[in-house]
Every structure is written in C-alpha cells, then in structure tokens.
C-alpha cells in the first residue's frame, strides 16, 4: 500500500538534511493512530525520520505549519501543498531559502468518506484499501470489491492542475501526469449543479448547509492561506460578525474568509476535509478559485515572484461588472 521507493528516498533525504544541518526541522507524515490515517510528524530528531511515510492517505497540507516553526524546515509537499508554500512566499510569510521542499509527485489522495459510502462500511470496518494504478481494491467484511480509482479520490485531486510540485528542492519520485478531462468533470459535479441553480436555490442551499456549522474554525485553522494572527471574526471593535453559530454569521464568516484567501487558495481541499459537519466548503473555495482564474488569469501559488493577487492590478483588468 505504501510507495516504497518514494518513502525510502524521503527517509534518507530527510535524515541527511538534519544530519548535515541543512534544516532544523522536518515536517512530514507518519502513520496515524487509526486505520488508513496519517498524522503530521514534526521533528528535529534524525532518528524520527524512519517513521516518515508516503501513501495515498497523506491528506494534510503541511505548509500550514510553516508559519509557526522557527528556523529552516524540510517539508514534505504534494503539488497543491507546494503551491501553498509558494503563496506563503509571495506574502512574505515564508522565506524560500528557509524551506527545503521535499516534493511528492502525487497520484491523488483517497477520500475515506467516498470509500465508506461506496462499500457502506465505516473506515474502521474496512480491512484494506489497495490502489493499483487506476483501479482500487477495497476489502471489507471479507468481501473484495474493485472500483476505478477516480471514484475514491478527493474532488480537488480530480481537478488537480499540479500533481507534481513545480517548486521543490528534492523531488521524491517521477513526475505524474495531469488528471484527464473525465476526472476533471467529475470533480466539478457539485459545483456545476450549484451553478445550474437559480440564485434563490443556491441561497437556500447554502443557508441550510451553514445551519450545521458549529464555528469550530477547523476550516480556517487548517488553511495555509489563513495566516492572520487574529482573524477578523475575532475582532470586537468593530465586531464584524457575531460569534454565535447562526446561519447568517456562519455563512458570512466563510464568505469573508474566502474573499480574504482569494488568490491564495490553491484548492487543496483541506477546509472541506477538516469540516466535522460535512459542509461542502470546496464548492465555495473552488468557486472563488475559478472567478479569480477567469477574471485575472491568476492561479495561486504558481509564481513566487508574482505579487499577491489583490496587491497588484492590470490597467486592462475586467470592467464588465462596472456599470
């Protein structure tokens, strides 16, 4: 189930980086405490590098930790994560020279929610998940079932524009290819259905989704683009939003958050994955991502020299919305 080649390369490279004093920390993944999970590993101890793993369950965007650690860091980054790092460099939150990017050419991350739904079993009731190219075999209650891999990958992986990091120092494997059109279409299903709705229906949809929100802020806290020390939602003079978890405030919190991360959001999908109450946040973030792309031909985290989206302009920027 593991990618042995990449994993052993990662372990030796990470160890060497620490040994040679090139980095103070390694941020990577180790096996999690539950089946089919991984957990972030942050260490300065070279012996810990033997615990580093690479597998289809390395969900987290580890760049969120870059703004916390001091010193130089070696970080494991999938394509989307590497874009977040670039975006942080653009915003001066990370100095490129302080980061050694251990790039993971990514084949997509498995969405356990989709797996659970496909086999009708909980994650912990599943015996094994084996990915073999574009097929995936799932063993549950002694039954073996096979599905196309695309059916178990996260939506954002299906439309990934950069599976292999463009910005890296060490690439841990052979570059992987882009998602095909069919996969891309599948990833847009939720968004397309939203676009087909009338404004009233869309509004209804979102208000009911955000009625569930408990304001745990996991979406914000897993997001590398949310790098503020104090979030606007915590401001009291003026108080932008009520801290009470009610749909208007919940929804508007997310709307403002997404406006704030416009041009920084790399569609890594972490907000949606972290949400404990299944709010389809990626349908919102991707909506903004597409707006930014269409209006300004700008995709976050692609060019570390570029100024942040809203700190620059073109005289020829779109004017069609101006009356």
């Amino acid at each position: 189930m593991k990618d042995e080649g990449m994993e052993s390369k990662l372990r030796s490279e990470a160890k060497a980086l620490l040994e040679q004093g090139k980095v103070d920390y390694i941020i990577g993944f180790e096996d999690g405490s539950l089946k089919f999970t991984t957990t972030p590993l942050m260490t300065s101890d070279k012996d810990d590098t033997s615990r580093l793993v690479i597998n289809p369950f390395i969900v987290n965007n580890l760049s969120v930790f870059l703004t916390e650690v001091m010193g130089r860091v070696g970080i494991v980054a999938k394509g989307c994560d590497s874009r977040s790092i670039v975006s942080l460099v653009q915003d001066n939150k990370v100095a490129r020279e302080d980061v050694v990017i251990l790039g993971v050419p990514c084949l997509g991350i498995i969405d356990l929610g989709k797996v659970e739904e496909l086999v009708g079993k909980g994650r912990d009731e599943i015996e094994d998940i084996i990915r073999d190219g574009d097929r995936v075999v799932i063993m549950a209650s002694g039954n073996k079932r096979e599905f196309p891999t695309r059916e178990v990958l996260f939506d954002n992986c299906l439309s990934c524009e950069l599976p292999t990091p463009q910005e890296y120092d060490i690439l841990l494997g052979e570059p992987t290819s882009l998602a095909d059109d069919r996969e891309r279409a599948a990833s847009q299903k939720k968004i397309d259905s939203l676009r087909d709705m009338t404004p009233e229906q869309r509004w209804e949809f979102w208000t009911s989704e955000f009625d569930r929100c408990i304001r745990c802020y996991a979406c914000r806290n897993v997001c590398p683009a949310c790098f503020c020390q104090q979030c606007f939602v915590e401001e009291t003079e003026p108080q932008w939003l009520s801290p009470l978890p009610r749909w208007q405030d919940n929804l508007m919190f997310q709307v403002v958050r997404i406006i704030h991360v416009a041009g920084r959001c790399t569609d890594c999908g972490e907000c949606e994955r972290a949400c404990p109450v299944n709010i389809p946040l990626r349908s919102l973030t991707r909506g903004m991502y597409d707006i930014v792309d269409v209006l300004f031909h700008y995709r976050a985290g692609m060019d570390k020299e570029a100024p942040p989206l809203l700190a620059t302009y073109e005289a020829t920027d779109a004017e069609d919305f101006i009356r």
Partner: protein, 348 residues
C-alpha cells in the same frame, strides 16, 4: 422467568410514537451525512441500522450551541429584563450511548456545583435518557479504560441491549420505570434473551481495543505540568480548532454575548473552546497565547483537575476527538507518552 422486558425492533417506531405523546423525542439523525440528534420525525426508525454514534454529542440538547438567556430593554427607569418561558418540554433521548450518558452525569456535577445553572438543569430534570448499548464500537473508542463499557447502564433511565431482532429492556431508574408504564409493546424477556444479552455485552466489551492506563494519571500530569518540552512536542501538530472540544460530550465551556438591536437586547450563551487563543485573551496579555498551553489545559482539565476536584475523569472514552481531529491528534497517545517522574524537565 425474569423481570426484564424486550421490544421487537419493528415496534420501535410505534414505541416512539407512544412516548411522543408526552415527550419530545430525540433520535440519531443524518443531516447530509452528519450524525446528530434531531427531533424524531414520527416515522423513521432506520437509525437502528446505521447508528454507531453521533458526531454532535447529545450534550447539544441540554447545552445548546446557542441559547437565549434573557432579553432586556432600556427604559426610563433603567433596564427591564425578561426571562425565557420556564415551562420546558420534556425531552426523551432515545438511543444514547453509555459514554455520552456518562458525560451528562459529569456535566451535572459542574452545572449543579457552586453555581446551579437553571437552563441546563431544567432540561436535565425533565429529560429522560434511554440508553442503547453499542454492538459495534469504533476503533477510536476507549470507554473500557475509563471504568465504563459499551453497554454500561449506570447513567441512563432505561437501558436497551441489542439481542438480534429485539432489544432487551432494563429499567434503571424510577423515571425509566414510569416510562415503561406508558407502553404496552414490551414483552417479557426470556432467560435465553438475557443470556444472549450477556454474550453481546461481552463481545462488545472485547471490541473496544484501544487501551489507556489511567492509573495515577492525575499525578503524572501534575508532575508534568511544567514540562514545556513535552507539551510543545505533543501540541506541535495541533491546529487549535474547536472540533475536539465542541464535539466532546463533557466539554461545557460557554461564552456570553449581548446582541443589541435598537433599544432592545438579548443575552446569549454559546459554546466556547479553550483551544481558541481568544478564550483567555485579556486586555494586556493572554496567559494561553501559545497553543501548547491551551492543549495542556484541555488535557489537564479532563485528566487532572477533574479527578482531583470531582473524583472522576472528565473523559468517557467516546473517541470523538480522535476520530474527528483533522490532524489525528490522539489523546490516548498523548497520555501514554507522558514522561515518568525521572525524565521530567521543568519549564523555566
């Protein structure tokens, strides 16, 4: 013959209908795939097929995420305060898991300690808990390490155990006894039923594989309280979100806010979390500005302060914090890795 009763699973909808005459019945419900507690819709009892436990714990019924405390209005003679109507409906929680029932018992201690919280206690007083033993605990569950079990009936009024097509009914409290008088659907259980129930209990108990050694845990924590290195290390991957606290069945922290519109206002209580830096923010400084201090607070609150002050660990092993954590931070791992006395380094 035994004094115990049983109810056929097919009759559950009928049973709930009967109880609905007097109670507002809450059952596990799936809202866009999110299991939570909701008012029973009057027909659907299919939760028996899928329900393992809810994501949002039943504490949300007694301690809602948002609750109006009172409204107030400024008049010429100062403020006029109006309390919400006190006649609360009676609520029946059908299918509460032993871990969550135990959590409510723990919350009772807090809300009836030096300050008696009228909002919470009124609901608890009128509420009835019908427990349902687990047959399929999660790999993240560890209730057995905390003196409980997947079929523990201690903290409910009525306990149900799955024995195949039927649910075995045990009356635990007077409230439960009274509840059974309101239905004629129950039949007498047989010795075989009881034997089967015992067997199911044992099977369920053994399915809980996660273990935590809680012996002297409060002392170990106390010894490590100032061990900054340790806390920093275990907090490194924490993202300071509110999932583990909001969705913890024993976390009860709340915030109070006034909402003002025109000359009227309303005071609200809403869930708060010690994971947020804002929680302890004061005008000049924040004693828990760093996340390791906040995480330490969370762990110590449950495993140190509670045992010392209330003689019980404020964790029931429901495993939600482990299952739902976006970075798989695992409290059992944390506690297992507590340094022993000799290794403790003190915070400077």
């Amino acid at each position: 013959m035994t004094s115990k009763k049983k109810i056929n699973k097919k009759d559950i909808a009928k049973l709930l209908s009967e109880w609905s005459q007097e109670f507002t019945v809450f059952v596990p419900w799936r809202d866009e795939g999110v299991a939570k507690w909701a008012k029973w819709d009057g027909k659907d009892a299919s939760f028996l097929d899928w329900y393992r436990n809810t994501i949002v714990p039943p504490k949300a019924i007694f301690l809602p995420p948002v609750e109006g405390m009172f409204s107030f209005q400024k008049g010429k003679e100062g403020y006029h305060i109006e309390l919400p109507p006190s006649d609360r409906r009676k609520e029946l929680i059908f299918g509460i898991r032993p871990c969550d029932a135990k959590a409510l018992a723990i919350l009772d201690m807090i809300f009836s300690d030096t300050y008696e919280d009228p909002y919470y206690l009124a609901r608890r007083k009128n509420g009835v808990l019908v427990g349902l033993g687990c047959v399929n605990p999660y790999d993240s569950c560890f209730c057995t390490s905390l003196g409980s079990s997947p079929t523990d009936s201690t903290n409910v009024d009525l306990m149900l155990t799955d024995v195949g097509d039927e649910l075995l009914v045990e009356v635990i409290t007077d409230k439960g006894k009274e509840l059974m008088t309101k239905t004629s659907l129950a039949q007498a259980a047989t010795q075989a039923d009881e034997a089967r129930a015992r067997g199911e209990r044992e099977v369920a108990y053994n399915k809980v594989t996660r273990q935590l050694d809680t012996k002297d845990i409060e002392k170990k924590l106390l010894a490590n309280f100032d061990n900054k290195d340790y806390w920093e290390k275990i907090a490194a991957k924490c993202i300071s979100c509110g999932i583990c606290t909001f969705l913890c069945p024993t976390c009860y922290c709340f915030d109070i806010n006034d909402e003002l519109i025109k000359n009227q206002g309303e005071r609200f209580k809403s869930w708060d979390s010690c994971a947020f830096p804002l929680y302890t923010k004061m005008p000049m400084e924040n004693p828990r500005a760093e996340k390791w201090r906040r995480l330490r607070q969370k762990v110590c609150h449950k495993y140190e302060f509670y045992p010392i002050n209330f003689d019980v660990i404020a964790c029931t092993g429901c495993g939600r914090c482990i299952r739902l954590c976006p970075v798989n931070w695992d409290i059992t791992q944390t506690l297992d890795s507590l340094p022993t006395k000799e290794k403790v380094k003190l915070e400077k």
